[in-house]
C-alpha cells in the first residue's frame, strides 16, 4: 500500500500536448477511478504512473519517492490491460507465475502461490490451458491473477472490463471491488463508463481533454457536478441541460420557445439577467396539470419495468424524464409537467462552470470558482 502523488504532470507526443498539467493525490489504500471519454488522456496518465510512458514534465511520486526516472519494475505497480495482454505461448499457470519466475522465487513456493491465486479467482481448473482456449471472462481473471500474485503496492487497471459482455462486466466489477476490500491495495482504475466509476470508486477523477474537471466522491460528483461537462457525463440518464435567459425579477429562465422554468431565488439572490444553462435530473420532473406547467413533447418511451424513461423535446433540446409505469403517456401527445425550483441547478452559459449558491453574478462566480480550484 502506497500513496501516489501526481504533480503538474504534462505529456507531449511530437509537440502535441495531451496531458496538460495534472495534479492529483491518491491516498494509500484508496480506490480512485479516472473517468472521461475516449482520447482524454486517461491511459496516458496511468501509463506514466506505471512507467510505460516517459513523463514530459512534472513529478510522480509513489510512497513519497519520486519515480520519474525509475523503470516499471522498480515502481512496485501491477497493471491489468484492456486486451489482457496474456502471453499467448504460456499456460495460465506460467502467465500468472511469470513475475515470480523473474523474481527467482523457488518453484515449489511459486506453484503454491499460483494455486492459491487461481483458487481465489476461480480459475484453478484451467491452469494448464493456453490463453487462446479461455473465454473472455476467464482471460480477464488470469490477467488479474497475474497482477495480484506480486502483491504490488499499487494496482493499475486500464479499462479492464470493456471487452466483456454486460453481465460479466457487472460480476467482475463486484469482484474487483471485493478484491480491493480484502487487500486494501491502492488502486488507479481507468474507465470511460460512468456506471463503473460510480460503483467502484472511493473518489472519481473526471477528465476532459487532458485536464481534470472535477475530483470527488461519487455522490459529490453526482449531486454537485462542477461543470456542465461533468453533469453531462455522470448519471444514467445524465443531467438534463437546457439553455435559456435568466430573469432575476421573476426568478425564471425563459427558454427558446417562450416557456419558462422557475429557479430558487433564495439560493441565487444576486444573479444578473443573461444567458444561462439550467440543469435538472430526470426524476425531478413530475407529471401534472397545474397552470404553471411546462409542455413537453414525448418522442419515444423506454420501458424499464419499474419506471419509464420518456425521451422528450423541450425548446428544441432533448431531455429525459422518468415516470412511473402506470402513467398514461404516449409518444406524440404533449405532456404537462412541473419541475420543483429547488431541483434546478445553474451553469454558466459560456464556460459551463457550475454556479454555486450565494454569489454576486454570473461572471464573478466563474472567477471565484476558478480561484478556489
Amino acid at each position: 500500500m502506497s500513496n501516489i502523488s501526481i504533480r503538474k504532470v504534462r505529456k507531449t507526443y511530437d509537440k502535441n500536448e495531451v496531458v496538460h498539467g495534472v495534479d492529483l493525490e491518491v491516498a494509500a489504500g484508496e480506490f480512485v477511478v479516472l473517468l472521461g471519454p475516449s482520447g482524454c488522456g486517461k491511459s496516458t496518465l496511468l501509463r506514466m504512473v506505471a512507467g510505460l510512458e516517459a513523463i514530459t514534465s512534472g513529478e510522480i511520486a509513489i510512497g513519497n519517492k519520486i519515480v520519474n526516472k525509475l523503470e516499471p519494475r522498480e515502481r512496485g505497480c501491477a497493471m491489468v490491460f484492456q486486451n489482457y495482454a496474456l502471453y499467448p505461448h504460456m499456460s495460465v499457470a506460467e502467465n500468472i507465475g511469470y513475475a515470480l519466475k523473474i523474481a527467482r522465487v523457488p518453484k515449489v513456493e511459486r506453484n503454491e502461490k499460483i494455486r492459491s491465486v487461481a483458487e481465489t479467482l476461480n480459475i484453478a481448473d484451467f491452469l494448464d490451458r493456453k490463453p487462446a482456449q479461455l473465454s473472455g471472462g476467464q482471460r480477464q481473471r488470469v490477467a488479474m491473477g497475474r497482477a495480484m500474485i506480486r502483491e504490488p503496492k499499487i494496482f493499475l487497471y486500464d479499462e479492464p472490463l470493456s471487452n466483456l459482455d454486460a453481465k460479466l462486466r457487472v460480476a467482475m466489477r463486484l469482484e474487483i471491488r471485493k478484491l480491493h476490500q480484502r487487500l486494501g491495495t491502492t488502486t488507479l482504475f481507468v474507465t470511460h463508463d460512468q456506471v463503473e466509476a460510480m460503483t467502484l470508486a472511493d473518489r472519481i477523477v473526471v477528465m476532459n481533454k487532458g485536464i481534470i474537471e472535477q475530483v470527488g466522491t461519487p455522490l459529490e460528483i453526482y449531486s454537485r457536478p462542477a461543470s456542465a461537462y461533468v453533469a453531462g457525463f455522470i448519471g444514467s440518464p445524465s443531467l438534463n441541460m437546457i439553455k435559456g435567459v435568466l430573469n432575476p425579477e421573476t426568478a425564471t429562465i425563459t427558454l427558446n420557445d417562450g416557456q419558462a422554468l422557475q429557479y430558487d431565488l433564495k439560493r441565487w439572490p444576486n444573479l444578473h439577467a443573461g444567458e444561462i444553462i439550467a440543469g435538472f435530473r430526470a426524476e425531478a420532473v413530475s407529471l401534472c396539470n397545474s397552470s404553471k406547467s411546462l409542455t413537453l413533447n414525448p418522442q419515444f418511451i423506454e420501458e424499464l419495468g419499474v419506471s419509464r424513461q420518456l425521451h422528450c423535446e423541450l425548446a428544441g433540446e432533448q431531455i429525459i424524464v422518468t415516470s412511473q409505469s402506470d402513467h398514461d403517456v404516449k409518444a406524440g401527445i404533449p405532456l404537462h409537467v412541473t419541475i420543483e425550483p429547488g431541483q434546478i441547478q445553474l451553469f454558466n452559459a459560456q464556460t459551463g462552470v457550475r454556479l454555486e449558491t450565494e454569489v454576486y453574478d454570473v461572471d464573478a462566480s466563474v472567477t471565484q470558482i476558478r480561484k478556489a480550484s
Binding site: A50, P72, N83, A85, Y98, A99, A103, R146
Partner: protein, 294 residues
C-alpha cells in the same frame, strides 16, 4: 460465401494465366526436363544422338570423393550461414523494434545489402578480405599468415560464409522486424510490469512469439545457401583452395561448363534439386503446421 475470387469466364481466365504458365514452363519445367534427360544419357564422343545409360552418371557422381567433399562443404556452408545470418538479423531486428531514435535509418541500412547483386557483394568482400591489400592486410602485418584465404581452406570457407550471411541479413531482418512488430506492444509492456528486463523480455516473450518466422527463415536460408551461392564463390574463391569452398552449385557449373561434362553436371543438379524439394516438403509438412498459437 466463397472467399476466393472466381472467374465465370473460363476463356478469359485461361488467357490471363497463360503468360505466367509459359514463363514457368520455359524457364523451369523445360530446363528441368532437359536436365533429367542429360542425367540419364551420355553424349556420343563424335556427336550424334545421346545414348541412354540409366543410373551410370549418378553412380559416377556418388563414387567420386570430390563430390562428397562438395556435399560436406555445402552442408557446413549452409548451416553456418543460416545460423550466423539469423542470429545477427534477429538481434538487429530486436534492437530496431525498440524504436529508439533513428530506428528508421537503421532499418533502411540493414536492408540495403539484400538489394546488392551477389557478384558485387563478392567483389567487395574480395577487396575487404584480400590478405595483401584490404582491411585484413593491416592485421596480417601484426600477425603474419593470420588470414590468407588464397592458401588456407578454412579462411576461404569463412570468407564465403561471411559474405553470404552478410547478404541475407537484410532479407531476414525485414521478416523478423515485421514479425516483432505484429506482437502487440502490450505484451512486452506486461513483461516490463512483471519485472522482466529488456533482454529477459526478448528471450521469454518476443523470440518465442516469432518462432513461426524463425522456422520459415531457417528453411529459406538453408535452401538459399544451397542454390544461390554461386555468384559469391565464383567471384571470391573459384571453389578453392584445394576444393575447400567447392559448393555443390559451383561444382555443377564447373563440371558442366569448364570440364564440359554435361551429363555429370546434370546428374549433380538433379541431386541438388531433390535436396531442395525435400527441404521444401519439410517446411510445408511440419514447420508450417506446428508453430502456431492462435
Amino acid at each position: 460465401m466463397d472467399k476466393h475470387a472466381t472467374f465465370s469466364n473460363t476463356w478469359l481466365a485461361t488467357a490471363l494465366i497463360i503468360p505466367q504458365l509459359l514463363l514457368v514452363f520455359v524457364f523451369f519445367y523445360w530446363p528441368t526436363a532437359e536436365a533429367v534427360y542429360w542425367a540419364f544419357t551420355l553424349e556420343q564422343p563424335f556427336g550424334g544422338s545421346n545414348q541412354w545409360v540409366g543410373m551410370q552418371n549418378f553412380q559416377t557422381v556418388f563414387n567420386d570423393s570430390k563430390y562428397w567433399n562438395s556435399v560436406i562443404v555445402s552442408i557446413i556452408f549452409a548451416l553456418a550461414t543460416t545460423a550466423l545470418s539469423l542470429i545477427i538479423s534477429l538481434g538487429l531486428a530486436l534492437l530496431v523494434d525498440r524504436r529508439l531514435p533513428g530506428h528508421q535509418l537503421f532499418s533502411f541500412a540493414y536492408f540495403i545489402p539484400y538489394a546488392m547483386a551477389a557478384p558485387a557483394a563478392g567483389l567487395a568482400f574480395r577487396f575487404i578480405f584480400a590478405p595483401s591489400a584490404g582491411f585484413m592486410a593491416a592485421i596480417n602485418e601484426w600477425y603474419p599468415n593470420l588470414w590468407n584465404p588464397a592458401t588456407n581452406g578454412s579462411h576461404a570457407l569463412l570468407l564465403i560464409i561471411l559474405c553470404q550471411s552478410w547478404q541475407s541479413i537484410g532479407y531476414n531482418f525485414v521478416f523478423f522486424l515485421a514479425a516483432l512488430q505484429s506482437i502487440p506492444r502490450t505484451l512486452t509492456e506486461a513483461g516490463a510490469m512483471d519485472g522482466a528486463s529488456v533482454l529477459r523480455r526478448m528471450a521469454d516473450i518476443q523470440i518465442p512469439l516469432v518462432a513461426p518466422t524463425l522456422f520459415f527463415l531457417i528453411i529459406i536460408n538453408l535452401t538459399d545457401s544451397f542454390v544461390n551461392s554461386f555468384g559469391i564463390v565464383d567471384i571470391t574463391t573459384h571453389g578453392g583452395p584445394a576444393r575447400a569452398t567447392d559448393l555443390m552449385v559451383y561444382k555443377i557449373y564447373f563440371d558442366g561448363f569448364k570440364a564440359q561434362d554435361y551429363s555429370l553436371a546434370a546428374a549433380e543438379s538433379i541431386v541438388l534439386m531433390l535436396l531442395v524439394i525435400a527441404l521444401t516438403f519439410f517446411q510445408f509438412r511440419f514447420v508450417e503446421r506446428r508453430v502456431h498459437y492462435n
